[in-house]
Each structure stands twice: as structure tokens, then as C-alpha cells.
């Protein structure tokens, strides 16, 4: 071996020297700042808002309009009769069905409570119609439950009890007069 040649181990030792150390993060910013100050790199355009009296007035007017508009919208929507039950969209499954059925049941019971509490003021005909609708609704619901769960004891017994009690609607149909409310 001569001085001009590297031994394999020397070559390996030189090759093993780290060649690409990671530069410190602040160095990049330092270099970029230096190049910006020299005009080589252009400053990124930043979105700025100048506050002029006209813009402030416009912003205030917009805020007030939004506030009043929101208030009016809230009032009008609270005055509107809305459906008490809404089926959640896009999330089918036992949980969403249970929630919607619970909502429907609550609304049904509330309507019955309203009927009971106002029955003294309501006329006899109104009350009769409401009871008829309540029974028909209950009957339809029971039939649905029995169809869904035919082995369910409670559903079968309720259905049997309602059918044997000859509801007013059935009686009216049997007598030839159609019920005044047909929903199902």
C-alpha cells in the first residue's frame, strides 16, 4: 500500500462519516429572512383589513340586521306548529327508531292528556271523535307491533282485547257510516 491509496478500512471509515446533518429549524427562517430583505423572495401576501369609518358603520349595520333578522325568525318559527316527531335522517338503526317511536308515543300521550284536561269544555261530538281517533291509532299501532313481533304476549293480548271490544270505527263501518277521521 502506498500513501496515495486508501485501505478498505480507511475507505469504509471515510464513508461512514455522516454527510447530511439536520440543519436547525431557525437557520431556514434566518436564510429566508435574509433573502426577503434583499428582495430575492417576495413576502407572502397577507389578508389585511383596514378599518375605515365607512367599514365600521357597514359592519355595525350588518350586525344589527342579523340580530333583528334572527329575532324575527325565531319568533315566527316558535309561532308555527311543528311536527313533534322527526325521524333522524341518515342514521338508520335501532337507536334512531327507538328515539322516533319514543317521540311519537310522547306526542300521543300528550294529546290524550290534552283531551282529558279539556274534555269538560269540549262538546260531546268533539270528544267522541277524539276518542275514536285515539282508539283507531292505538289499534293500528298494536297491529303493527303484533306484525313486527308476532310472539310478543302483550302485543297479542292487546290486539285481541281491542278486536273483541268492537271499536267505534268498526261499529260505524258495520252500520254503514264511514268514520269521520281516517288516518291509517
Amino acid at each position: 500500500m502506498t500513501d496515495d491509496e486508501l485501505t478498505p478500512s480507511e475507505r469504509e471509515a471515510l464513508a461512514a462519516l455522516p454527510r447530511e446533518p439536520a440543519p436547525s429549524p431557525h437557520l431556514e427562517e434566518r436564510v429566508v429572512r435574509a433573502l426577503r430583505s434583499r428582495g430575492v423572495l417576495k413576502e407572502r401576501e397577507r389578508w389585511t383589513l383596514e378599518l375605515s369609518p365607512l367599514r365600521v358603520a357597514a359592519a355595525l349595520a350588518t350586525c344589527i340586521a342579523l340580530l333583528v333578522g334572527g329575532f324575527m325568525l325565531g319568533r315566527s318559527s316558535s309561532a308555527t306548529i311543528t311536527m313533534p316527531v322527526s325521524i333522524p335522517e341518515g342514521m338508520p338503526g335501532a337507536t334512531s327508531y327507538a328515539v322516533s317511536l319514543q317521540g311519537a308515543g310522547t306526542a300521543y300521550l300528550r294529546a290524550l292528556e290534552d283531551l282529558a284536561s279539556s274534555s269538560h269544555a269540549a262538546s260531546g261530538e268533539d270528544r267522541r271523535q277524539a276518542c275514536e281517533v285515539a282508539l283507531v291509532t292505538l289499534y293500528a299501532a298494536t297491529r303493527q307491533i303484533a306484525a313486527i313481533a308476532p310472539k310478543d304476549y302483550m302485543a297479542r293480548e292487546m290486539l285481541r282485547a281491542i278486536e273483541t271490544s268492537e271499536p267505534a270505527a268498526a261499529r260505524q263501518q258495520a252500520e254503514g257510516s264511514a268514520p269521520q277521521q281516517v288516518w291509517f
Partner: protein, 186 residues
């Protein structure tokens, strides 16, 4: 890993974005691609403090951006950048030599730098202890893989000088290490 031609094309596109639009994002991409190698080269060649090394890297990029329009893309951008880094380091040596000269006049009996026993067994430190000229040739040839012709052209010396300096550099390192170089795993 990208092929050298693809890297070169990408470098050229980024350089054009910097030149034409002053595109900071393009510059940052170039910077992140080439700075690790430049930093390693400068750090080893300068044998200075981290702050001095960072100064040189910054100055290298500034000069590179200034000269970007005149770069003809006949060589790899990374090689061109290392060449600029080399020139900046040599300028740094000259100013350092002037400073040392002033210091020597102020304090003529200050102790000279010696090579400690610890440095003898450390290849990195041995390289740092080499005279600037020897270290430059050794790094360009043995670390960066340049040919003597290319080194001679870059440094403005004869090919024979490059060869003899490399030979001397290797001999000095062997002497400092007192045995053939071995791989160190520390």
C-alpha cells in the same frame, strides 16, 4: 428515491420559480433538499463553531440566489452549491487568518493550537486538524467524490498539486491516528 435527472429538472423548475416570482415556497423546497449536504460539507471544511457554520450556509444561499440566473445547469445544482460554499469558506479562512494575525500582534506569546490525545483517535477531529488546503482537497475527493481535475479547477490549482495535497492529507491523518483508520461506532 428520485433519479438525478429528475432531481435536476425539479431543481431547475424551483429555481425558475424563485427567479421569476420570488417564490418563497419553491425556495424552501430547494433549501430543504440541499442544505443538509451543504451543512455537512461546510461544517467539516470550516472546522468552526456552529454559529460560523450557519453564517457560511446563509451566505452560500444568498450568493447562490444572486447567481442563479447565470447558472447554466451543466452540472448538478448540489455540486454548484457546494462550490459556492467552498468559496465562502475560503473567504472565511482569509478573514480568520487576518484576525489571527492581529491577535498574534496583540498577544505574541499566546499558546498555539495543538492536537490533543483525544483528537488523535477521532477521525472527525483529525480532519478538522488538517491545514485548510489539505482538508479541502481531502473532503472534496474522499468525502464528496470529486475528481482531481474538478478539484483543481474549483480551487484554481494544478492537478498535481491536488494529488500531492491529498496524499499529504492522508499521511497526516494516519500519523495523527497512529494507525490505519478504523470505523468508530460512537
Amino acid at each position: 428515491m428520485e433519479a438525478p435527472q429528475a432531481v435536476q429538472r425539479s431543481d431547475r423548475r424551483l429555481a425558475q420559480a424563485v427567479l421569476l416570482r420570488g417564490d418563497e415556497k419553491a425556495f424552501r423546497e430547494m433549501y430543504r433538499r440541499h442544505t443538509p449536504r451543504l451543512l455537512g460539507f461546510v461544517s467539516r471544511l470550516l472546522a468552526g463553531t456552529p454559529a460560523e457554520v450557519e453564517d457560511v450556509v446563509q451566505e452560500t444561499w444568498i450568493r447562490a440566489c444572486d447567481g442563479l440566473a447565470s447558472f447554466r445547469w451543466e452540472s448538478a445544482f448540489s455540486t454548484w452549491l457546494l462550490g459556492i460554499g467552498l468559496n465562502v469558506v475560503r473567504a472565511c479562512w482569509r478573514s480568520r487568518a487576518q484576525l489571527e494575525s492581529i491577535k498574534a500582534q496583540v498577544a505574541p506569546d499566546s499558546p498555539g493550537a495543538g492536537v490533543s490525545l483525544e483528537e488523535r483517535i477521532d477521525l472527525e477531529r483529525c480532519i478538522r486538524a488538517l491545514p485548510n488546503g489539505f482538508r479541502t482537497v481531502l473532503l472534496l475527493h474522499d468525502i464528496e467524490g470529486m475528481k482531481h481535475e474538478e478539484i483543481a479547477e474549483r480551487l484554481g490549482i494544478a492537478v498535481g498539486t491536488s494529488k500531492s495535497q491529498l496524499s499529504d492529507a492522508r499521511r497526516m491523518i494516519r500519523t495523527m491516528m497512529c494507525r490505519p483508520m478504523e470505523i468508530r461506532h460512537d
